[in-house]
């Protein structure tokens, strides 16, 4: 984690930024993924070579994977089982089946891997959930991205803006109904797909070949073929509903009853806003692997949760923030933090203002001289330190406002009583 400098001149001091390591995006590609065979070193491109893969497994290894087309990510699935089988022989995990492949009475022993094996089921569900989360993140990014630019498929308009507007342009002006923009994902790929179809002079719906653009357009207009054929599975991956439940495609999901979607919201009685129920929000939790809004130490580069940083500063630097701030009001705490941050950034000791060439020497100086203490108030009690030195400095969001706490508690209790009386 480094500190990046935005501006440095003596007068104006621009906001600085912490740069946290960026999260790695779970990579999933639509372009053919490559699956390693579980037992030998053959590789297969999926989804094109799926039948070859399953034949290969059956013939060469007497092995079968049930419902292969429903697995979200074949390459990860195969890698998992490949390493598993190196540790433990497959016949201990998989089920056995007798299959009469040739039809002449000779039975072959086949090992099968499927959902009836708990470990396999869990793996499939995990892969499915990861894929769904990835798709939904992609969906939200696409929805917010306002820098989309593309030439319209059917007219000469160069479009700039967001994807939902592009799709509604197609639907309003050209009568091409692809569906609600909110239900679509990977819209760029979808448009590329449609574009290749049209440019190769095939109809979008019935896939018949035509002589030229004009004939094609006329056909699509007359037959109302400016939409996607529900039976065309090539476009399944662009509709989010197909990622919903493992193994069920959109037809099955649609046929399920819609009734109990509202159960969650109505049954939840606890909500702080008495007038209106905004619904049940408690299931939205942060990802477990991400530390929420890490707090950075005031002196060194360590970042962690607020409580941990406080004890770190106490142990490693001898700076007990809790004790120091116990009788400071909120605004003074804010100013102190911003002052210390700025001094440390510029290489000055917060207490004596001595200039040191780098961070390491600064920390050495401070610990030797015992300068990990609160500097004189007039140094930092200045209005310029109201403004955060660093953008998104989570340290400032955890400051405790103790003085008013007791009064606030008493007041809020009183206000709740009054509200009760008022609303009945």
């Amino acid at each position: 984690m480094e500190v990046r400098m935005e501006e440095q001149n003596v007068g104006a001091f621009g906001p600085l930024e912490f740069s946290h390591p960026s999260e790695n995006v779970y990579s999933y590609s639509f372009r053919s993924e490559v699956a390693h065979c579980l037992f030998c070193s053959d590789m297969f491109k999926l989804p094109e070579e799926r039948t070859y893969f399953s034949t290969h497994l059956f013939v060469h290894h007497q092995f079968e994977i049930a419902d292969m087309e429903m697995i979200a990510n074949m390459s990860k699935y195969c890698n998992y089982w490949r390493s598993r089988f190196l540790a433990e022989p497959p016949n201990k995990i998989c089920s056995r089946m007798l299959i009469d492949a040739k039809g002449d009475g000779t039975c072959v022993n086949i090992l099968v891997l499927g959902k009836f094996i708990p470990e396999d089921k869990k793996l499939r569900e995990d892969l499915h959930n990861k894929q769904m989360m990835w798709v939904l993140t992609q969906k939200i990014n696409e929805r917010e991205d306002k820098n989309f630019s593309r030439k319209c498929l059917l007219c000469r308009l160069q479009f700039k803006g967001c994807r939902a507007d592009y799709l509604s342009h197609l639907s309003r002006l050209h009568n091409m109904q692809l569906g609600q923009p909110e239900n679509l994902v990977f819209i760029d790929d979808l448009l590329n797909c449609i574009e290749t179809r049209l440019e190769s002079l095939h109809c979008l719906f019935c896939n018949k070949l035509f002589k030229n653009q004009t004939v094609l357009k006329e056909h699509m207009r007359k037959k109302q073929h400016k939409k996607i054929n529900p039976k065309d599975t090539e476009f399944d991956k662009f509709y989010i509903i197909n990622y919903l439940e493992m193994g069920k495609n959109w037809r099955q999901v649609k046929n399920e009853p819609d009734d109990d979607d509202d159960d969650d919201e109505l049954s939840n009685a606890e909500n702080s806003d008495r007038r209106v129920s905004v619904g049940n929000w408690s299931d939205w939790e942060e990802d477990e692997d991400k530390v929420e809004n890490p707090v950075v130490c005031l002196f060194c580069e360590r970042s962690s949760s607020f409580d941990e940083i406080q004890s770190h500063m106490n142990n490693a630097h001898g700076f007990d923030f809790t004790r120091i701030s116990v009788d400071m009001d909120f605004y003074h705490q804010v100013k102190l933090v911003n002052y210390v941050r700025r001094q440390v950034y510029m290489g000055h000791c917060p207490y004596c203002d001595k200039i040191l060439p780098n961070r390491r020497e600064l920390l050495e100086h401070m610990s030797m001289e015992s300068h990990f203490i609160v500097p004189q108030m007039q140094l930092w009690d200045q209005p310029e330190y109201f403004f955060p030195t660093y953008e998104n400095d989570s340290f400032l969001c955890h400051l405790n406002d103790h003085q008013d706490d007791m009064a606030e508690l008493h007041l809020s209790k009183k206000m709740e009583e009054d509200c009760h009386i008022g609303s009945c």
Binding site: K139, Q177, Q180, N183, D263, V276, W281, E285, P383
Partner: protein
């Protein structure tokens, strides 16, 4: 003209949302074309079903603030749309899959969390669960509009320019999360975690410090606690509001004659 919808034969498909069910999925793509009509934006006219809705539709109520003044519950989202619809911007905070155990096994649905605001004094939150993402988002936007509350802004020090920060320290609580909003001088910006920052920006608060306690990892409760804190800005009686103002008549009383005149009880229409 080459692109326009052909007239004649298939005209029966046109005209609204009811016909689709009878014809089934044929010729409708994946059945997700609803709402787009035949190249027209099918705007249904609003027929209000609550008294307040009727008053709003007839223009008897001047601003949304008149409704807030009397704490009247808003049950139709079109009321909010009527006054501030064009300025409201919605933002989907999160779409996540949720699972429920039924007799037939696990059932997964999409849940959409939406925040709505005009960056000038109004904020709302909504959540909706559905099979399709579009339905969930649309439903959540409607619920968010129903939950719109006014936001009071004030000054930190000198009362020059427009109000830019919260008028006083306010706290909101939801679950174990407690969020406190503290006034900040002009130019500070919003000092908070990403989720409350978005809500405060949509509410129109320019400068604010925040202090959060509890399990802020539960982002849903974090957002709701921020919303509760923002809503409290108008609940807090600051000294500048101590002046006694003359009481005004609530709308139901003021327009009672109008309501009685135009009242058509449901069911009486069929008898004629």
């Amino acid at each position: 003209m080459a692109d326009a919808a052909p007239a004649g034969g298939r005209g029966s498909f046109r005209g609204g949302f009811g016909s689709r069910g009878g014809r089934g999925q044929r010729g409708r793509g994946r059945g997700r074309g609803r709402g787009r009509g035949r190249g027209k934006e099918a705007e249904k006219e609003w027929i209000p079903i609550t008294k307040l809705g009727r008053l709003v539709r007839e223009g008897k109520i001047r601003t949304l603030e008149d409704i807030y003044l009397f704490s009247l519950p808003i049950k139709e989202f079109e009321i909010v749309d009527f006054f501030i619809g064009p300025t409201l911007k919605d933002e989907v905070l999160k779409i996540m899959p949720v699972q429920k155990q039924t007799r037939a096994g696990q059932r997964t649905r999409f849940k959409a969390f939406v925040a709505i605001g005009d960056s000038n004094g109004h904020i709302g939150l909504g959540v909706k669960c559905s099979k399709e993402v579009a339905t969930a988002i649309r439903g959540a936007i409607i619920l968010a509009k129903l939950s719109v509350v006014p936001v009071r802004r004030g000054y930190w020090g000198n009362k020059i320019g427009r109000p830019h920060t919260v008028p006083c320290k306010v706290t909101g609580k939801c679950g174990s999360v407690q969020v406190r909003l503290i006034p900040a001088p002009r130019g500070t910006g919003i000092v908070s975690a990403p989720v409350p920052k978005k809500l405060l920006q949509m509410a129109g608060i320019e400068d604010c410090y925040t202090s959060a306690r509890g399990s802020t990892g539960t982002l849903g409760n974090f957002a709701k606690a921020t919303y509760a804190a923002i809503a409290k800005t108008y609940a807090y009686l600051t000294p500048d509001l101590w002046k006694e103002m003359p009481l005004t008549k609530p709308p139901y009383q003021e327009f009672a004659d109008f309501l009685a005149k135009t009242h058509r009880p449901v069911g009486s229409q069929r008898e004629s």
